[in-house]
């Protein structure tokens, strides 16, 4: 098939040229993806870093065909390690640190008090979670590996990366589910059938991750004041906390069979 006939050599304006080339560039990126990966992570750089931080001197001979076949295999292993760590370093720890002391101070004296306590945990825990997520770069790297997994041409690499990403999410979900199980037991709430705690965990995690993608700092989203204190007074809420409350109210209900003093988190 013949290529498109050559157009006459008209002089195009700067704007026309820019438009033409940007459109072409975007369509190429659509087909081929961004160049993304750990290509800058050369053995040379890593050896220098290891020596600077530990005093241990390594060479290609120490590593090649001894630990990894080659540099590419090493780079893939690092990416797989990033993929497997879905929990933004210590987000769970930071959230637990804030929630656990709060558990003892909540109002469990009535169903109304227990539902209010659930909302209070969403408010306080939500803020801690988002802050922890935004303070580290680990999750941003995880997203980078996600992009690579979806856009790389190498199908074997794509499969391995996707498996590692899925594995990382599963492990993180297991741990969060444990925390939420403890909270449910403490508050005397249960998941509304036919929903499951795993689905709640997934929804909350998706909410955190999507919110972190939008960390552009829209000023209207900073803080919302609502009359939600136990006495009807004002409380400060992050938008993320409001969303967590929404999910909690959808997924949970009072457990009519709850006995106070059941094992907590």
């Amino acid at each position: 098939m013949a290529p498109a006939p050559q157009a006459p050599r008209a002089r195009r304006s700067r704007e026309e040229l820019r438009s033409l080339l940007i459109d072409a560039g975007r369509s190429i990126l659509d087909e081929e993806g961004l160049s993304i990966g750990a290509g800058d992570l050369t053995f040379r750089r890593v050896f220098a870093h290891v020596e600077a931080t530990t005093g241990v001197r390594l060479t290609n001979a120490s590593v090649i065909r001894r630990v990894w076949q080659n540099q590419e295999e090493y780079q893939m292993d690092v990416l797989l390690a990033v993929a497997a760590t879905a929990d933004s370093a210590g987000e769970l720890a930071a959230t637990s640190e804030v929630l656990v002391p709060l558990l003892g101070a909540l109002d469990l004296s009535s169903p109304d008090g227990r539902m209010w306590s659930l909302c209070e945990l969403a408010r306080v825990g939500g803020e801690a979670s988002m802050r922890a997520r935004m303070e580290t770069r680990d999750w941003s790297l995880w997203v980078g590996v996600w992009v690579l997994a979806l856009t790389t041409d190498a199908s074997d690499d794509r499969v391995r990366l996707r498996e590692a990403l899925a594995g990382g999410l599963q492990s993180a979900s297991d741990v969060w589910e444990e925390l939420f199980t403890g909270i449910c037991a403490h508050l005397g709430i249960r998941v509304r059938a036919p929903l499951t705690l795993r689905q709640y965990t997934g929804a909350v995690s998706a909410m955190v991750e999507g919110s972190a993608l939008r960390q552009g700092g829209d000023p209207e989203l900073a803080v919302v004041v609502r009359p939600t204190a136990r006495d009807g007074g004002p409380q400060e809420w992050t938008l993320f906390g409001i969303c967590l409350e929404a999910l909690a109210l959808r997924f949970f209900e009072i457990d009519p069979d709850w006995v106070p003093g059941t094992a907590a988190a």
Binding site: P3, A4, P5, A7, R9, R12, R14, L17, R18, L20, L21, A24, G25, R26, L29, D30, E32, G33, L34, S35, I36, A38, D40, L41, V46, H49, V50, V67, Y74, V78, R137, S140, L141, G144, W146, V147, A149, T151, R162, A166, L169, L195, Q199, A203, S205, A206, M207, E209, G210, L213, R214, Q215, G216, D218, E220, V224, R226, C243, A246, R250
Partner: protein, 266 residues
């Protein structure tokens, strides 16, 4: 007596020790300096070939350099900024509107209960369409890649430009969806609960769908669940995103007591 260390010969580390040292160093370098992300493969040559193939127009470096851009790197940045600014670019909103249009003729707006049921159905059907469109969108995956560059790239004018382009794209997308959500709220006779704003609702929904799309892209389980939400209580398929969307809708919206059915108005 000279020992191995005093003789200047490095201690021999086990395979496992070396692996641990290298993995820790690699992860640390990535955290400090980010993944390599960019449009480095997008050369002028490749782009000129594409332009000639698709339009017949032949361009050379002389056509472009110091005329449209100073150099190739500046062009690559311009393309990244264009990706960042494009945001939703209509794919997701178009797919959602297409899925909802057939629904609008059959919803019951004659009672408050009917309007709330309609809201649930809009969430279920529209939510599934939105999520599918995003998961299948290569443009969105690219956008996320540019986000990674903006967030993890070493500070520079280039990264600042990309960040600003992301914010511009985000604003345009938010405005687009605010229009759609506002129209849906009006059509169903709803209003925002005080003190919430339409922007807060739109941003929350956007965050949830993107988070769900990230998860769906990693583990294609198509988290579909059955709920007895049909008109006669029969089971209907819901995506997890739609369940969350319904939760957000009930959090942010309420029936508007002053709403008048259009038929009554006429």
């Amino acid at each position: 007596m000279r020992t191995a260390s005093t003789a200047g010969r490095p201690a021999r580390h086990t395979r496992e020790e070396i692996r641990a040292l290298m993995m820790e160093a690699g992860l640390g370098l990535l955290v400090d300096q980010g993944l390599g992300v960019g449009a480095g493969d997008l050369t002028f040559k490749k782009v000129f070939d594409r332009v000639e193939l698709t339009t017949g127009i032949r361009l050379t470096n002389a056509s472009v350099i110091r005329r449209a851009w100073e150099n190739q790197a500046e062009f690559q940045d311009a393309v990244l900024a264009a990706v960042a600014r494009a945001g939703d670019a209509g794919d997701e909103s178009g797919a959602t509107a297409d899925a909802l249009l057939p629904l609008l003729g059959s919803i019951d707006r004659s009672t408050g209960q009917g309007r709330l049921r309609a809201l649930s159905e809009v969430c279920r059907v529209g939510g599934a369409a939105s999520l599918r469109a995003l998961v299948d969108s290569r443009s969105w995956a690219l956008w996320v890649g540019v986000w990674v560059l903006a967030v993890t790239g070493a500070p520079s004018e280039r990264v600042d430009r990309v960040r600003q382009a992301l914010l511009d794209g985000y604003e345009a997308t938010t405005e687009l969806w605010m229009g759609l959500h506002g129209a849906m709220i009006d059509a169903l006779g709803l209003r925002l609960r005080s003190p919430f704003t339409l922007r807060q609702f739109t941003v929350s929904v956007g965050a949830l769908v993107e988070g769900c799309a990230l998860r769906e892209g990693s583990e294609r389980q198509a988290a579909v669940l059955l709920r007895p939400s049909g008109p006669a209580g029969e089971p209907q398929e819901w995506t997890l995103f739609a369940v969350g969307l319904e939760a957000l809708a009930h959090q942010f919206l309420e029936l508007d007591p002053d709403w008048v059915h259009p038929d009554v108005e006429d």
